[in-house]
């Protein structure tokens, strides 16, 4: 009886002592710095560049074998600009990225040192392809994609790398659209289970579309480089 009790106790303990792998990067809200460059072949729009919208709203999480990303950054940035937009004080809308977008992936691997696997991406995003001033005047497009995510632990430091390809579509104005992304996360544990993460990210998008106030079919390349900062929980 005593052996059985010990065995059950050990089993329950082992379930709780199971290696917890991963990090929960909570840019909720987070900050980002960087730039976005939009280069079009439309003479009216030309080429324009602007600083990245500062506040973001995103959760990027790896726990055990699962990768989950929820991103509302462009939507949130738009909301934070409401007072300025109501007073026509915005020179150009900096809403770039996800209105509401997500990624789901499965990471293969054993132990808590390294894991890697594929992920799928789906959501509604936006890019300022019309050089608009008001964030909520921007049009949305659907993004669908595939990616690979890898996770590595180095003592108090955790690194994550993400690479992927996405197709963009919106029947009303986009005829062709695709893009790639490269993201890295460096997270460092500071106090108890919490720390900070830095996410340098590069996005490259190509669109063939019809601008809002011009019927000319236009090609645009949107390139952005941002560095994000947020709080992180370590599992």
């Amino acid at each position: 009886m005593r052996i059985l009790f010990t065995a059950v106790s050990l089993l329950i303990s082992s379930l709780f002592l199971k290696a917890q792998v991963g990090i929960n990067c909570q840019y909720f809200p987070g900050l980002q710095v960087g730039f976005v460059r939009v280069k079009t072949d439309n003479a009216k729009l030309g080429e324009y560049k602007y600083g990245a919208g500062l506040p973001i709203l995103m959760i990027d999480r790896i726990k055990d074998h699962w990768y989950l990303n929820t991103d509302l950054s462009a939507l949130y940035y738009g909301a934070t600009q409401t007072n300025k937009a109501n007073d026509n004080q915005i020179k150009i809308s900096k809403a770039e990225g996800a209105f509401f977008s997500g990624r789901l992936g499965y990471l293969f691997g054993k132990g808590d040192q390294f894991r890697m696997g594929p992920n799928i991406n789906v959501g509604s995003s936006t890019s300022n392809l019309d050089s608009l001033k008001k964030t909520f005047d921007q049009r949305a497009y659907t993004n669908l994609g595939l990616g690979v995510v890898a996770y590595k632990k180095f003592g108090k430091l955790r690194l994550v790398g993400k690479v992927g390809y996405e197709r963009y579509s919106a029947k009303s104005y986009i005829t062709k659209g695709s893009g790639t992304y490269l993201e890295a996360t460096i997270a460092y544990s500071i106090f108890q289970k919490y720390g900070l993460s830095i996410m340098p990210s590069f996005y490259s998008k190509k669109f063939e579309y019809t601008p809002k106030n011009d019927a000319t079919v236009t090609n645009a390349k949107v390139k952005s480089f941002v560095i994000r900062f947020g709080l992180t929980k370590f599992f």
Partner: protein
């Protein structure tokens, strides 16, 4: 006869099969300690929204902190600033953006636990318009900790104020060539559709009821199930010695001192706060009440002063919180 008996048996079996309520569930308690908590939490709220009679709505971001120091002291802090305030224009100095900050301190006079049954949900499924919930009937005995405190504090706020919510007979614009009311003798509304600014500093005091449950069980055949909560419910009375309506400046540079003859210096509020006792996650706070502000006009002189519904408000804040264990921590009676 045999056929009838067969039908009755079948019907009875079908009835029993669809109405079995007997439940045999065994479980093992893994965790049941409402004192093993993180007694400090810092919440960063990316979004709050407030609906009020003064200006309609405001939304923005904020931060909250809450600290239970040892057995007897409780402290709180809350700050919010709007990034979408109805009626507020950055370029119009007559208006004010939404801003709210408060600090409070409480004395805990009850900090004990009792065994009480709490609900445990085993499974929940939704199909169409039907949700099926399987739970342990009668609940599971858990240690429920209750912390009750008397608290008091100070808040300071600004907001935009719609003039259409002010009473004509009580609003006077002093300055310029002559003083005048909100409506002139021909019933034309002066500064129609305009927004002004409102500021208030108040003290509040009330009672806070906190409930902490931290039950984790291993149910045979179901796995781990939990009932964990760290919730607050509070009721406060508010007294505001400072209730101000901002001066109004016209485009020609004339400044009017906006006077409102009857101010209600008292108000009240109640609210709820939710988080988990130990784990990091999302926290929410909902509050509604009636803040000190302009009184409603008395239409019938014999009637008592009615409640000004424009002073009512409801706020919902939501964000991620970081819980920490910071000394001193009360671990209960030995």
């Amino acid at each position: 006869m045999k056929k009838t008996r067969y039908k009755i048996t079948l019907a009875l079996a079908a009835f029993l099969a669809t109405n079995i309520n007997a439940q045999s569930v065994t479980w093992k308690v893994i965790e049941d300690d409402p004192y093993d908590i993180k007694n400090f939490s810092l919440a960063i709220d990316p979004l709050f929204s407030e609906f009020s009679g003064m200006n309609g709505y405001s939304f923005g971001w904020g931060a909250r902190a809450e600290y239970m120091m040892g057995k007897r002291i409780q402290a709180g802090f809350d700050i919010r600033t709007g990034f979408g305030t109805k009626g507020y224009l950055i370029s119009n100095d007559n208006t004010r953006n939404y801003f709210y900050t408060e600090g409070s301190l409480g004395f805990i006079f009850y900090n004990k636990d009792k065994k009480k049954n709490v609900p445990i949900i085993l499974s929940q499924t939704t199909s169409g318009n039907t949700r099926t919930t399987v739970s342990i009937r009668g609940g599971v005995p858990a240690t429920v900790r209750r912390v009750t405190s008397l608290r008091g504090g100070v808040y300071q706020m600004t907001n935009s104020l719609s003039y259409k919510f002010l009473a004509d007979s009580l609003t006077t614009f002093k300055g310029g060539a002559s003083d005048f009311k909100l409506k002139d003798s021909a019933s034309n509304v002066n500064f129609s559709g305009q927004y002004g600014g409102f500021a208030s500093t108040a003290i509040f005091g009330g009672i806070n009821f906190r409930k902490i449950v931290q039950l984790l069980i291993d149910v045979d055949g179901w796995g781990y199930r939990q009932n964990k909560r760290y919730t607050d419910f509070y009721i406060d009375g508010i007294f505001a010695p400072v209730v101000l309506i901002k001066d109004f400046k016209t485009p020609d540079g004339t400044t009017y001192d906006v006077k409102y003859d009857k101010i209600s210096y008292f108000g009240w509020r109640m609210g709820w706060v939710w988080r988990k006792p130990k784990e990091q996650g999302f926290s929410a706070k909902f509050e509604f009440g009636n803040r000190p502000g302009p009184k409603a006009p008395v239409k019938d002189p014999k009637a008592t002063v009615p409640v000004n519904f424009n002073n009512y408000y409801a706020t919902l804040t939501f964000g991620l919180y970081i819980p920490l264990k910071i000394k001193p921590v009360y671990k209960g009676e030995d």
